[in-house]
Amino acid sequence: MRLRYAFWEIITMNDDKNKKSIQDKLANIKYNCDSKSHLILDQEKCKNCKEKTCTFICPANVYEYNEQLDEITVVYENCLECGACKLVCEKKSIEWHWPKASCGVVFKNS
């Protein structure tokens, strides 16, 4: 039991580290933020989703599960527009649009 707990602790620790690492990297990117989200979730479908793949797959950590509200929060402002979330979503809950014209991420050095 103790061993399992330790293992879990390592995983969650790595998870937090990774989130911090992503945050640091995102801080270098220029965005023209839109006032409205270009990613729309069907929260009802998300409630029934066990995997919640979007919450760990996104390279910009846009999706986070809020346990109190039993909802996925979407920090669309951080989106790198790669489109991975839409492809992995089990419940096809993500309505994926491009951000409005000239909104979203601006890569200058990629």
Partner: protein, 444 residues
Amino acid sequence: MDKIINNVDCIVIGAGPSGIAAAITVARSGKKVILIDRSEYPGSKNMYGGAVYKRALEELFCDDIQNMPYERIINDHTWAFLNDEGVFNISYNNPADSNAFAIKRFDLDSWMVNIAKKEGVYYIPSTLVTSLIIKDKKVVGIKTELEEYFAPVTIIANGANTILLGQAGLRKKDLEPKDVILTIKETLKLDKKTIEDRFNLKEDGTTGKNMLFFGSDFGNLKQYNNLFMMTFLFTFKDTIMLGVGCNLEDLKKNKLNINYILDEVKKHPVISQLIKDTKSIEYSAHIIPEGGFYDMPKLVSDGVMVAGDAAGFINGVHFEGTNFALISGKLAGETALDAIEKNDFSKNMLNNYIKRLEKSFIFKDLYTYRNVINLLHKRANSISVYYPNKIKEFFEIITGANNISKSQQYRKFLTNFIKERNILELFKDAFCALRCALDMLFGK
């Protein structure tokens, strides 16, 4: 609301390599073509590995490419297998060779768009195409957030994430995670002189290094033994591009975030030395459709064609994508011109685009490599874990000088090679290698 109606000969959606190539080709014959892009600046939504190829550029821009603001010519190539501490690599370096250029997409796309404008393309930036206008099953124009544009032929070239294909009935279902590589890249800033010293490059930018790393059996990635992933590194003028690509299905199965992989890669003893003292200045992500020949959407329908990443034209094994995009765009442009000439925009007429693709290297290569990525993906454990480790063991014998009889060590190595894993796996690897080799030899 007032709607301005705009009539042109051809609409091209997406100002990346394929879109620009298509638009230029049409504009050169004096036809009215618009090139629509959602970004404010060309290339600001794009990322790629790091090289664009001369032959494909030459076909479109001829002598203009001498003015291309590239950063380095990439002609020192390394393929490497990472194990937990070290690396085994093969290199090919020819300083006289100038086939690939390292250039940032912002610079490349801006340069190409400027040429396109000079050639008579109407470039419309900051405009998002929200949908296609379809009448009687024919694509007759596009809707943007503000306006509508009409043309008898539309070329869709807006990348891997295009949502327009579904509307035109060209793609029935989304890409599947197993056919997609999720790639992220960091742009690492380092003083120009240090880069040249570290990678042994010339000051004038006529040499540059490209490294591809296989293997995932190091650091915390050791707990995953089936990752189909690759790390790449390109040297630019005063930046190093370091990125990883990993199969989306593998990430999903292992509940892994790709940034975690990149951070582990950066900690590897060999790579951490290569990127020492660098400062991260940008982070980007993209998906690569690797489905290839069997996963292409329908490329043609009445009044519409698809080119570049949107069509999945990519050769993941050779890191080729920009050349596929440029040439497929050009061929789509040529077909559009034929159609305009004959005033026939039916599916039948536009099928010439497919005929042109079949004659070009694009379809031939896609066909040749139709199974390769899939076969390699199935052997992910061999490529990423087993062989990199065996290579390490082998070179430990060669370079070990460990006071043990060499013959004894060779025998142990060989027996381990067979015994350590189910022998069936060895046959599967051999079969995979043979299949790949046969595909290459008897491809198109």
